[in-house]
């Protein structure tokens, strides 16, 4: 195995700096006291370090509620989207049926759809069905938007798995369903993880629909709640608070990524990259 030369070391550091510098910046902002950011402090590191921002933000009821909303909506959307996508991807990879091309084109079309155009019609639709300002009201659009990429990833995985494995299991006496569950699903696990993570990130991140389809903290997620923060003067956003809220909201992401990074990368690269 080749040794890593200097070039690789430099590349390594470059990647780390690229990815983590803005995170460090937000972190440093969150430790700066409000007075410092109002009067202007262009240094990277705070002049005085303080935990006050964290105390303020974490004690904010609305923010806590928004965190709960975000977590719940993202989790449910992820689970359901993965289930739907797995079923659809299996069908696309394995079976021949009329309308396969139609499904693929719909998926691609959705991947190109401007989210902004959805706001008005969805608002009207949800009001008619009583889904405005509810969890399902956000879960359904989020699932729909992530299904294309999830189906794409998962079907690539399913195709890698040789037909023979299922047939072998069936010869051993398993039903189709058992063959699917015990043989296919474990092998497709990295793809499932990727699909799950993509959906979760999308739901956690989404802003336009979150702000248009909610009206109270019953269903408002964190990205929308960020625009409700008020600072000491009514005219400028409270930078320290926003930075602190951003850190709080990013920590679960980093944790998730840390735990599942191997599987995620395997899924995104269709298993081509060795762990």
């Amino acid at each position: 195995m080749k040794q890593n030369g200097l070039g690789h070391w430099i590349g390594f550091v470059a990647i780390l700096v690229w990815c983590l510098l803005p995170i460090a910046w937000i972190l440093s902002l969150s430790f700066k006291p409000v007075a410092e950011t109002t009067s202007g402090s262009p240094q990277f590191l705070p002049r005085t370090w303080t935990l006050q921002n964290y105390k303020d933000v974490l004690a904010n009821d609305d923010f806590q509620r928004a965190l709960l909303n975000s977590a719940g909506i993202a989790a449910i959307a992820t689970v359901l989207a993965v289930i739907f996508a797995t079923l659809a991807a299996y069908a696309i990879a394995r079976l021949e049926f009329r309308g396969k091309r139609f499904v693929l084109s719909i998926a691609l079309a959705i991947a190109m759809f401007p989210v902004v155009s959805l706001v008005g019609p969805l608002f009207d639709l949800w009001r008619t069905f009583g889904l405005f300002n509810t969890w399902p009201g956000l879960i359904i659009p989020y699932m729909s938007f992530t299904l294309p990429l999830a189906i794409w990833t998962l079907s690539a995985f399913f195709r890698e798995i040789p037909w023979e494995m299922e047939q072998a299991a069936q010869v051993d006496g398993a039903t189709s369903w058992q063959a699917f569950r015990k043989v296919i699903v474990p092998l497709a696990a990295p793809g499932v993880f990727t699909a799950a993570i993509l959906t979760f990130f999308f739901a956690w991140n989404e802003f336009v629909l979150a702000i248009s389809l909610t009206s109270t903290t019953d269903a408002r997620t964190v990205p929308a709640q960020l625009s409700f923060f008020v600072g000491s003067d009514q005219f400028n956003p409270p930078y320290s608070q926003l930075a602190t809220a951003s850190v709080v909201v990013t920590v679960p992401i980093v944790v998730l990524v840390l735990l599942f990074q191997r599987k995620i990368v395997a899924g995104l690269t269709s298993g081509a990259v060795k762990g």
């Binding site: 977590a71 719940g72 989790a75 009001r127 969890w135 409700f228 000491s232 009514q234 956003p237």
Partner: protein
């Protein structure tokens, strides 16, 4: 077995998700009135954060508590901090006849659009005349559309000229005697100071433009009852006078370096610094600098500068009016609550807590206000609100404002031709021939 483990994990995840869903649904269901009283929902714009040692409900939430009676309870819900977002959220829901909104805190420019669209419940004549008696003329004008009062003024915001006394003395100027913009800019240039204004591409910039135009005796649009056929009058001497003020400031050394993105907050820092001289800003400035002794002792205030020598200035008007949703299920109670919310006592308490000045003349005589503010400042607030120049009250205000923003921004691009160009553009927009 590996797959067994995975199955278990997935089952746990599904169970957790289901539990979260149920919990969420339960939490969402909670919140109904449990004591048999009706609940009126009041959507408020966010109040500033209360001081650390404040006990109880603050600002509008406090008013809501005090105005709840044994027949109904007033509950507050927050709108986003940004005025445009507030308007968007309210309008969308009101257009869908949402019964979940009873009362709303409306930024002054919304009145025309909402009233014209039929979103606001009609205010009975007796209530209207009481409110008109109570409020200062400028405030009442800002809530009147098509000859009728459509909302109840709660608090009024007004802009004054704030200045560093030491700087004014240095250049031998006394703004309290009435000063024109030209003199102001010259004085700032001479003394090496800056004039803080709001010139970012947002509503605040149009507020400034409107004040300049009205201060020169003109108006941006007239014949408002013609709707989209309103007459565009900004291409007049008044408009050109306004443009020349902006041109003069933008090209002088008295302009702040972030002029094109300046707003009410960005001017605070430079004013307190070495080159601090003048700024035009709302009433909150008095409380803003209380913590900085050096600046606070040096703080002076004067009426809004004149656009044209000899013509009285028309200071910009802001503030919040309370409107009742015409689709509300409790219109009578809501109207009653509206009067209570905007009563003089509540206005005074609100002013003490948040620094947002009352819209009613009688409130300025209150003892608590006299303790918190110097008498001459209170008098200046009151008289300025009385002669304030509100932005035109028309349902097309957001179009007009956006059109002005796109043609007059950035400030250093403004010339004598700008009023004419913007008038043409605005005409095409209102006729539906141009994208905005």
């Amino acid at each position: 077995m590996v797959s067994g483990l995975r199955g278990k994990r997935r089952r746990r995840i599904v169970a957790a998700a289901a539990a979260a869903a149920v919990a969420g649904a339960l939490l969402a269901a909670c919140g109904g009135g449990s004591d048999g009283r009706d609940t009126l929902v009041w959507y408020i714009n966010p109040d500033p954060a209360p001081p650390a040692d404040f006990q109880g409900a603050f600002g509008q939430a406090g008013i809501a508590e005090r105005c709840s009676t044994d027949r109904y309870r007033i509950e507050t819900q927050q709108l986003p901090g940004d005025s445009t977002q507030q308007r968007i959220q309210l309008a969308r829901r009101l257009a869908a006849d949402d019964t979940g909104i009873d009362l709303m805190s409306l930024d002054v420019p919304f009145a025309g659009e909402f009233a014209d669209a039929g979103f606001l419940a009609e205010i009975p004549d007796d209530v209207a005349s009481r409110l008109q008696e109570q409020g200062l003329e400028g405030a009442v004008n800002g809530a009147t559309y098509d000859g009728r009062l459509v909302a109840a003024p709660l608090w009024s915001n007004i802009q004054l000229l704030w200045y560093r006394k030491s700087f004014a003395d240095k250049t031998g100027v006394d703004p309290r005697q009435g000063i024109t913009w030209a003199e102001l800019i010259d004085s700032a240039e001479e003394g090496g100071g800056t004039v803080g204004v709001q010139a970012n591409k947002y509503e605040g910039y149009v507020v400034w433009i409107n004040a300049l135009v009205m201060g020169a005796g003109g108006e941006i649009v007239t014949d408002l009852d013609q709707g989209a056929e309103a007459s565009i009058d900004i291409n007049s001497d008044a408009g050109r006078a306004a443009a020349s003020v902006i041109e003069k400031l933008a090209s002088s050394t008295a302009a702040e370096s972030d002029l094109s993105v300046s707003n009410e907050g960005t001017v605070l820092g430079p004013f307190a610094g070495d080159s601090g001289a003048y700024q035009v800003n709302w009433t909150f400035i008095y409380n803003q600098y209380k913590s900085d002794e050096q600046v606070f002792d040096d703080l002076g205030w004067a009426p809004y500068p004149q656009t044209v020598d000899g013509q009285p200035s028309r200071p910009p008007l802001g503030g919040i009016n309370i409107g009742v949703n015409s689709s509300s299920g409790h219109i009578d109670e809501a109207l009653e609550a509206m009067e209570c919310i905007t009563s003089v006592d509540n206005q005074v308490t609100y002013a003490i807590e948040t620094g947002n000045m009352p819209s009613s003349g009688a409130a300025y005589d209150a003892a608590e206000l006299a303790k918190a503010y110097p008498a001459d400042l209170l008098e200046m607030f009151r008289s300025s609100i009385d002669v304030a120049g509100p932005r035109p009250i028309t349902p097309y205000w957001s179009d007009i404002s956006t059109a002005l923003q796109s043609t007059w921004h950035p400030a250093d691009s403004v010339t004598e031709a700008t009023p004419g160009r913007s008038a043409e553009f605005l005409r095409e927009v209102l006729d539906g021939k141009r994208l905005l």
